[in-house]
Subunit: 149 residues, 4 copies
């Protein structure tokens, strides 16, 4: 209804393009261990797009997901407000969904923005960050009243 | 309805005790950076309880949450099936909720078990892992059909 | 030379036993993705031992290494000072060495304690945390003088 | 001595510039929790530079270091071979050193490249990845001979 909320809505064409960009960057995936390629493309409030792929590590726990890669890139260029992120994988029959770590990473920058879970054929499901991480723990919680009992 | 599903339900007394155990271990929290103490107590299918606290690190990203601590402990003792986990913090006015990383860690061991989000006064909310991590990415996804386009 | 530093030295028998404990807990490893089993056993200043294995996750980055598992367990039981940690894997020809993340996790609790890198046959190499993580970033660094230019 | 190793050496001017770039991106740091700003600039074999800052999270463990941010960015653009990385912080009296997690992340892409630890005044220390992570665990280890005892 307001200008801001309206601008958050992506046109069909924009969604299609964003998903395409997440598919493109997927080809850069460094995943010698899982062989599971993932790409992500995040759009800032003023329609800039940053893309990322997963970057695995011999110590599995130290790898990085595509979604966090894309968002970190955007942050390093000065962006902290996002409209949407699209995610792509090679799974034919499944809309690729972000891991809990990435959901938390997204939520740091607000819970009211959109996540496009896609398939290789370009079909998708849309969810908000809040829908993917209900009852989330966020920045505000760290400074709320505490009891030391 | 089945024996297994019935056994998953904790009595009021068991819930109360599990939350108490999460509060007890909270006092061991190593959190010099956030000063945000968290405790967790996980109950296995055969009612064993393992507890964990958060363990922070000067490189913030390398710390460990209380929930993952408790579950890892249980795994290292041979348990991989859980009924419930209780979480405690010092927040007076907020039921402490697990971060996305911990939700994903829980989900590795099934999405149909219970998470008790508590307050210092012992009051709580109950959610399933699935409710906290809807549309989750899990072990099955890694082996599903892939298209290499 | 001092009582404390002398007590830090493990007898041959103690080393052998600590390595054995790391091998034992290795059998609990949850590693469906890497099939790479790791166990660790950490000894506190007063000779208590805590053991841990690696706990992997479908989202690889959210797994936990054996070393961090063992140390977190000890912390959750009130220990923050350690003498030594032993690490075991299934590699025949290689002394298993901790990842950088685990080295940083160890270093949080001091850099002057011992890491035993072992082989399945029980042979080992000894290194200090400091040798494995030279020029380390640690707790003190966070509070040093800063310039805001 | 060989062409490759010679090309790995940066001129004084290149070092100075790389450090400057790490200082520039430091200003984008998202660090509401630690207030500890870090920047990093990584140079590929063909002299492209990618920069990153730290990106913290309310769940501390899910944040990202500057070094991993810079390298992930480069990977997502198709680069996997690096000459050098420079790191900058606000510490006046200390050459900022990478955490163990970042050392492991660097090492995934080789251990024989350079890390410039800098101070705000532009002075620096040079170390190789191997010097910062001796006896490292790396990609090769995952596929070495195993004993299942
Ligand atoms: Zn993820
Ligand atoms: Zn957590
Ligand atoms: Zn490790
Ligand atoms: Zn780091």
């Amino acid at each position: 209804i307001t200008v801001v909320s309206r601008s958050r809505d992506l046109s069909q064409e924009m969604v299609k393009k964003l998903i395409h960009q997440s598919q493109e960057v997927k080809t850069q995936s460094y995943c010698p261990y899982s062989k599971f390629r993932v790409g992500a493309a995040v759009m800032t409030l003023d329609n800039c797009v940053f893309t990322g792929c997963n970057v695995e590590n011999a110590c599995y726990t130290l790898g990085l997901c595509a979604e966090r890669n894309a968002i970190s890139k955007a942050v390093s260029e000065g962006y902290r407000s996002f409209k949407a992120i699209a995610i792509a994988s090679d799974l034919c029959d499944q809309f690729i969904s972000p891991c809990g770590g990435c959901r938390q990473f997204m939520r740091e920058f607000g819970s009211n923005w959109d996540v496009y879970l896609s398939k290789p054929d370009g079909s998708y499901q849309k969810r908000t960050v809040d829908e993917l991480l209900p009852l989330s723990f966020g920045p505000e919680d760290l400074s709320m009243n505490k009891v030391f009992s």
